[in-house]
Symmetry: C2
Subunit: 194 residues, 2 copies
């Protein structure tokens, strides 16, 4: 691991390990000592590379966006039915809600923990949600052009409501709820498209 | 305040002050010293009355249910249109999302913080969400009987989806989002009823 020698480690791998811990335990509840142990780097390396624990969190959120949320967004880029792609995104969040580790979604967790307290983090989280919202909206507009979504529906409003439902599913995932109840959320939410 | 003499204070008022602090800051992030200061009681009184900080949290959640969520449930008990009552509940959560203090909803916040870690608290939160879900479902069933909701709709699934959307709105409230975007969530979500 070459602790103490900055960048003499695989930065993405180290950020991934920090992400796992923040995701499971939350930001404040993760102590610096266990963080360094999990990351396998020295305190000095953390400071040299990320500035401090808060700087590390910004890297972690970016890593989460690139490795996790990008999967949801990629679903919208597929050819074929825009509506099916939109449904696949909601299903992606349904899977988060079924996660037996009850970790929820890192963005939703961080939003609850730091939203309203930490403007830098809030701005990044707002950006991420806006990206999800606008991507869903584009897919719904395309579906509307193809006649898959009724002309009477508002792609913007439904995209906002689906983004909100995704956050709800991510948070609900913390409760280890009955899978049938979670699937009812999925089905009921998608009735917006009918 | 008669600190040190158990029950020589207004328990509901003291729990209300603890609720305000947990709601704003979260459970773990609230230190015992500031908690006692805000509550205006001694450490011994807290132990005598609530057992410990965790016991206090259980009282706080119960107080929140009785003073806050009961307002949402009361909306469903009103005579008249079941659909209008259901819309009023979603509007109740829209107002939480517009709260300038960005506190969100105590239940959603606690769910993210302790869900999956604290089984006693998780069970209470699950109960609260099930109560909201079943109350919404009854109102939707009644609306369906009156012909206000299409026979093709599933009151159970929509009630699950609306409960989930309410959690989403509560969490979104942490981001100080644009009121128009929040109102789009409200409108899009209610399109499940169309």
């Amino acid at each position: 691991m070459n602790a103490g020698r900055p960048r003499a480690f695989d930065e993405a791998a180290v950020v991934e390990r920090a992400m796992d811990l923040f995701w499971l335990k939350g930001y404040e509840a993760t102590g610096l000592t266990e963080l360094l142990e999990q990351m396998g780097i020295s305190r000095q390396s953390l400071y040299d590379t990320f500035g401090n624990k808060h700087g590390l969190l910004l890297h972690v959120i970016e890593h989460y966006r690139q490795t996790q949320l990008s999967k949801a967004l990629a679903l919208l880029e597929r050819d074929g039915s825009g509506i099916d792609n939109v449904k696949a995104v909601v299903q992606f969040f349904e899977k988060l809600a079924l996660d037996k580790r009850c970790r929820g979604c890192l963005v939703a967790n961080t939003l609850v923990e730091l939203g309203g307290k930490d403007e830098e983090v809030s701005a990044i989280l707002r950006d991420i949600l806006e990206l999800l919202q606008s991507s869903l909206q584009s897919a719904l507009e395309e579906a509307q052009r193809k006649g898959e979504l009724a002309k009477s529906k508002s792609p913007a409003k439904i995209a906002h409501a689906l983004t909100n439902a995704s956050i709800g599913l991510a948070v609900t995932g913390k409760l280890d709820m009955d899978p049938e109840a979670i699937h009812d959320i999925y089905t009921g939410t998608l009735s917006m498209l009918d």
